[in-house]
């Protein structure tokens, strides 16, 4: 049975009430978390990660997929209503959504956002289903040196994608790599950095790193910014009541935006998603800029043009499909959410990598079916049914919300090994991530460094052992040479050429 048939057959799983419950619940949790400014779908996934221990892995992956899709579109709610994007991916939506809200067309802006999210989400997921098996076949050609160069490429691109923050991103990545070296060596049975502790000799588990980095540090950050958040809550109180019938955009309005805009933006989003570290905000931004550039009425942008919303939202939801390509085919996550999805696989003893699409197609196919289902059915349905109540949901009391998050985060980290050592690790990671964030370090590079570190070390040592320590093996092997050249191209365009152009522009005024 080919992969496409398996995905189609997987839709039948959604007829199982338990599976459907987790997919829908995941989507709703993802929407609420991404709608609340400051909280993200990544946090929702991090909190739900411990629960996947008790869940069937297929169901857990399907729930993760629906949270991911919800996380990309939920941010448009507060972006439109109070001009504060609930998630970074909805930054461009605020530019057009809020002016529409000010002239009384807020629900319509949300309707456009929802429709575009649906198009982009389905486009990205379908493209993923069609292309991932082909890329997986290609990935089998990548040998040990190539794998090492590929991981290095991913890490370097993630670091240089943090513009204006590259050194800090590099330090955070190094910290992640350093944490990954704690415990037994992968090739020789020697414990490193364990300082005589049996717990440390077993290595640092992925779960405390994820929960600490995204949940505990978020809790501390939110407490530090409590006053600011209270003013957002006050703003939300002033939002006018939303009626269900106002959500649905007219056919003529959709025609005015044009199929080309939806498809072009979705393609941009998908391609951006495949790049490590780019994410939904970059996808939305590029698609929005392209929509302005090719528009016959560029002056109308920034004043409530639904085309801008359509471009940004279709792109950021198409990112979901694109971002899963490197994770499923190479085992390389490009953003925190795919890193957590990878964590679910690892927790369940499944090794991600080139063989994954072939050996575990039965697990991956339902996840992709859930991604399509979330985009096609849950996005419009949730907006239509729950849209009028979203503002009330987002206004949830902060003390209740964070009391619950604190409990879920700390108790959740106990689940992995039934030991308070994991809880302590979670706290230590949370405090470290909090101070890193406070001083402008992107913690996503820390997480990806931690996840990619063991693979990088293993392939580097293997490659050098096989070549008797000859470093030129990385340029004589075509696969590693390809990724090294690709790294050079990205470094040139993102870290050398662009800053030079910016400096020139600044100096010319």
């Amino acid at each position: 049975m080919d992969f496409l048939t398996q995905v189609v057959a997987s839709f039948a799983l959604l007829l199982n009430p338990t599976v459907l419950f987790y997919v829908v619940a995941g989507f709703l949790i993802g929407t609420v978390f991404s709608a609340i400014p400051g909280l993200t779908a990544t946090l929702a996934l991090a909190l739900l990660l411990p629960l996947t221990y008790s869940l069937d892995v297929t169901t857990a992956l399907m729930a993760c997929a629906s949270i991911y899709m919800a996380g990309m579109c939920g941010g448009s709610i507060t972006a439109t209503t109070i001009n504060i994007p609930g998630a970074p991916s909805s930054m461009m939506t605020a530019l057009e959504g809020y002016p529409m809200q000010q002239r009384g067309e807020g629900p319509l802006a949300l309707g456009h956002a929802s429709f575009a999210s649906m198009i982009g989400g389905v486009f990205g997921a379908v493209l993923l289903v069609l292309l991932a098996p082909l890329i997986a076949d290609l990935s089998l050609l990548v040998q040990t040196t190539g794998k090492c160069a590929l991981i290095l490429f991913a890490l370097i691109v993630i670091v240089i994608a943090q513009r204006g923050n590259v050194r800090r991103a590099g330090i955070a990545a190094c910290l992640g790599l350093m944490l990954a070296t704690v415990g037994l060596d992968a090739m020789v049975p020697v414990a490193r950095f364990s300082f005589g502790s049996g717990d440390l000799a077993a290595g640092i588990d992925l779960m405390p790193v994820i929960i600490g980095t995204f949940a505990i540090s978020e809790l501390l950050t939110q407490l530090a910014e409590n006053d600011k958040a209270l003013s957002i809550r006050e703003k939300l109180k002033g939002v006018a009541k939303i009626r269900r019938r106002d959500f649905i955009p007219s056919r003529s309005a959709i025609r005015r935006i044009g199929a080309a805009c939806y498809l072009k933006s979705s393609t941009i989003g998908y391609l951006v998603g495949t790049l490590p570290g780019a994410g939904g905000s970059m996808g939305g931004f590029l698609a929005y800029v392209e929509a302005v550039r090719t528009s016959k009425e560029p002056d109308t942008f920034g004043k409530g043009n639904p085309q801008g919303i359509a471009a940004a939202e279709s792109a950021n939801n198409a990112v979901c499909g694109g971002a899963l390509v490197p994770m499923l085919t190479f085992g390389i996550p490009g953003d925190p959410i795919t890193a957590i999805v990878l964590g679910v696989l690892v927790i369940n003893g499944i090794q991600p990598g080139p063989q994954l699409m072939e050996s575990q197609a039965g697990l991956i196919a339902p996840m992709l079916a859930a991604l399509i289902f979330s985009a096609l059915i849950l996005i419009p349905l949730t907006m239509y049914l729950l849209g009028p109540y979203f503002i009330r949901i987002v206004r949830i009391r902060r003390d209740v919300l964070f009391g619950s998050i604190a409990m879920l985060a700390v108790v959740g980290s106990y689940v992995a090994t039934y030991s308070t050592f994991q809880m302590m690790m979670t706290l230590i990671m949370g405090v470290l991530a909090f101070y890193l964030r406070k001083h402008g370090y992107p913690v996503v590079t820390l997480l990806l460094g931690f996840i990619l570190g063991p693979g990088l070390e293993e392939y580097l040592r293997r490659a050098l052992t096989l070549s008797n320590g000859d470093l030129t093996v990385f340029v004589t092997q075509p696969d590693s040479l390809f990724f090294l050249v690709l790294t050079g191209v990205f470094v040139y365009f993102l870290a050398i050429r662009k800053p030079v152009q910016l400096k020139r522009r600044e100096s010319t005024g």
Binding site: R167, M178, D399, A406, Y414, V415, T420
Partner: protein, 169 residues
Amino acid sequence: MSRFSVPTMARALGTGAACFHGVLALMSLGYLIVTLTMGPPLQNGKLTPSFFPLLIGALASVLCLLQWRSAVHENLAATASDASQATVQARALRFSPELLLMLATLVYVLAFQGIGYLLSTLIYVLTVMMLFSGVDRWLSKVAIAMAITGVGYLLFQQIFNVRLPALWG
């Protein structure tokens, strides 16, 4: 650097970002030193377990030291003005709720297995709630904290079959 006085230098090294970057630099150097004690990176032509940590430790130390150096320079420029010194003093005197939350979580983790899930979680959730919204209307907060603890118990123990520690048994 000599144009700055000793107290100015001390303030620049000991405050805010410079202090944090300094801690990171020390951590990286510590990591590098431990790696060096693990033995040579190459033995009989083969790479040893210290090879990769040595690479990472060296890279991290260089990056952290550079970051620390630029932070100290920024601080020196900032502490030169009286206004920023006042800000630093005000910041030092400020009561930090984040620190309290860290402490509360630490106490919770330490007490979790000793006094059991129910009691420790109830106190922890209540503390977190009060840190976010103050101590007013405490009775309703106690009720909500009890509800959150109960929901957590149902979720972990009953639905997901996680054995949570109890005060008795």
